[in-house]
Subunit: 433 residues, 2 copies
């Protein structure tokens, strides 16, 4: 809870792309915020690794602290923004000691919340302060607030979507420009859509997965799950797959999915073939989209820009207003001690139609080897497209199967590792049902 | 504000489709609501025109009042739901006297809010109670809450979308089933998507327009405008137009649009040709979608079911939770006395590309008559498709123009009223830019 005093002191820790944009935005919107909340806000302390780094927005160096922990100790702070972004280390320390010192915390740090959200929300409740993290999921889309408030009394059974703008940009751009993954990744890095140093956490699905864990906890009123899940990124998606998918009427999207199946929690992130005719198949570029299915509301869709300082600041400031207005006190919508840990769904029984691409030697018997093997595991074929490459005496065989389970397909495909006529282990992409 | 007492008394006035579903839903979700808010709620009074009407959900007749105003006088009510739906009369009386008696009000009544929202919100603020109307706009989509909270500090410059499920269903279904307007309307009425008695307020754009007025006031922090606007419904959309539009790559959608142009407020509802490739061109059936453009967030999209008791109840209950949690006190996001009335944009200068369909006699000189007339008004032609109907010695001429203003096209078209070779006044549908 915010004190009744009308003068609110704010600190911002971390002045990178997000932090410095936020610093400027808060100063720009001061009057509007006072109008909407009756509170006068003031940034009284800032901290970052490098005081003198060149920034797009000028900072007031008189309020700069080299050690952010000193801000918490020395200054009379009401609300702190943590925008460093580590899952542990100094990020965790700042949030922890802020909450313990009864300072409200706002952070876009999905790695921190996905890992320590349960502990930190308990700490916030104990100290009667807010911990807000709207910007941690889907940038400018107010999806957490929508689940906590706009759809609050719905029984949500599924939440899924495109949660990572970097990978969605890369997949869209590969299709559009007919360029291979590596080239488009470089382009994304140039445009600032992908981390120049280490884009791994975007590409391998980890970023989307952290968001899915947060979404699950909010949607189903559960503790953040720690169970092992299917998490695949887009590193192995070839331009060829995108082209074949397109011919078949599909696009490839990296989807995060969270669902209650028979009372058990199923969470996953992996690339999917989705029909071009569907809504999700038409969310392209850096856009994010989140879809919830609930009762009684039915299907709800939220779409918006998923990254970048503008959209992120929009969410950070919505958290600020929520605190200033004295809204919502439970970080995950209900008291921590009422949130349950539910049993994870057995991933082996996750079932999908599949796209399987085989690269084979163009010799007799290969096709029947494949189809016999599939038949043995009762994987039935819906479509089969064989494209010969006569010059190289090779062929590409693409099979779209009917629904089958993970465990079944794993067993079925294992044999192809060692067959001399199968040139490499088949590429498998699930279809979104 | 809600009292600190944990026992909250609720009344529901109006037990039609919405009211009776809500009645049942509140009883179903009691425990969840207590978990999320710490408040015990109880429905202590209900009222409707007919006590003994057959309803899908059983009501407790012991708490039934014939005169709803007696509930306000006699019972110790904390929150009242008004779901009768009139813009004046008993609906207004109930809301008015509830607020005066310091009872919080929740209503899905767009007609009432669009007409009396300024007065009623002032009354609510004066009496320190909430007036909530999330369900008045776009059914289950929590768009008002999103503007007031999730996007609260953004500078919104435009809000538009598909705001009426009935008309969207009719237009989609005409395209899909190749049936004329009148037949599809009957189908919509059978399915419960259109009022069986008087679907006029949906069809003529009034329903969408009331929603646009509410959205404007919230998005731009302005008073509800009373100025005369372009409001057109779908009554004159012919199957022929839908087919021609489809051949040209468009769909016809009834759009509500509100925008600040040069510091002036522009509001309108009219059918539009939208590209099939756009997002809005693919929102079909009874779905609603609202798109906001703001700074710094960029474009945000919310989509969901726009009508029906389920989605509406979802929004009504989100209002209930907001009140129980003690959230937000200004019905329009900021204090009433800070909301300004801004100057309306001159509709004459609204400018669009146009689709114009002429039905003409197939005689020499008609085409040049049309094109000369357009040229005189500097309306330049982008595409022209002439389709002869030799048997009847007629022809259809469809012209897609470059952008031109309302006043210009009005003057230009006026001549065609009296020309013997022009068989009827041309059909005009604006393109969405």
């Amino acid at each position: 809870m915010i004190k009744d005093n009308n003068n609110i002191n704010i600190a911002i820790i971390g002045l990178g792309q997000i932090g410095s944009f936020l610093y400027n935005e808060i100063n720009l919107r001061k009057k509007d915020i006072e109008l909407k909340t009756g509170k006068k806000i003031k940034i009284v302390a800032i901290s970052a690794k490098n005081k003198n780094k060149k920034r797009k927005f000028k900072i007031d160096k008189k309020i700069f602290y080299s050690n952010p922990l000193n801000i918490i100790k020395k200054k009379n702070i009401d609300i702190i923004f943590e925008s460093i972004g580590l899952s542990d280390g100094i990020s965790k320390k700042i949030v922890e000691s802020s909450l313990k010192n009864k300072i409200n915390v706002i952070t876009p740090n999905k790695a921190l919340i996905a890992k320590h959200g349960d502990y930190l929300s308990k700490l916030a409740e104990k100290n009667n302060v807010n911990l807000e993290f709207e910007a941690a999921v889907a940038g400018g889309i107010p999806i957490l607030r929508t689940i906590k408030e706009g759809l609050a009394t719905n029984k949500i059974k599924k939440v899924y979507g495109i949660l990572n703008g970097t990978t969605n940009y890369i997949l869209s751009e590969m299709e559009k420009s007919n360029e291979i993954f590596e080239n488009v990744l470089k382009k994304a890095q140039k445009l600032g859509y992908a981390e120049p140093g280490n884009p791994k956490l975007d590409l391998n699905g980890f970023d989307a997965f952290a968001k899915i864990r947060i979404l699950s906890a909010l949607s189903f009123n559960t503790k953040i799950s720690k169970s092992k899940c299917i998490m695949e990124g887009i590193q192995n998606i070839k331009l060829e797959d995108i082209k074949i998918a397109s011919q078949l009427g599909f696009r490839i999207k990296l989807l995060g999915i969270s669902e209650i199946i028979n009372g058990q929690l199923f969470e996953t992130v992996h690339p999917c073939l989705v029909s071009k005719k569907t809504y999700i198949g038409n969310v392209n570029g850096v856009m994010n989209a989140v879809i919830t299915e609930g009762r009684p509301v039915g299907e709800s869709v939220l779409q918006g820009e998923g990254a970048g300082p503008g959209p992120t600041s929009s969410s950070l400031l919505s958290d600020l207003l929520s605190i200033l207005r004295g809204n919502i006190k439970y970080p995950f919508g209900i008291p921590s001690n009422k949130r349950k840990l539910i049993k994870p769904f057995n991933n082996n029984y996750y079932s999908n139609s599949l796209y399987i691409r085989f690269e084979v030697k163009d010799v007799q018997g290969v096709l029947s080897l494949i189809t016999n093997r599939l038949a043995k595991y009762r994987i039935s074929v819906k479509r089969l497209i064989q494209t010969p490459d006569k010059k190289n005496k090779k062929a590409t065989i693409v099979i779209i199967t009917h629904k089958t389970t993970e465990i079944n397909v794993k067993n079925c495909l294992s044999i192809f590792k060692k067959n001399k006529n199968i040139l490499r282990f088949p590429t498998l992409i699930r279809l979104y049902n």
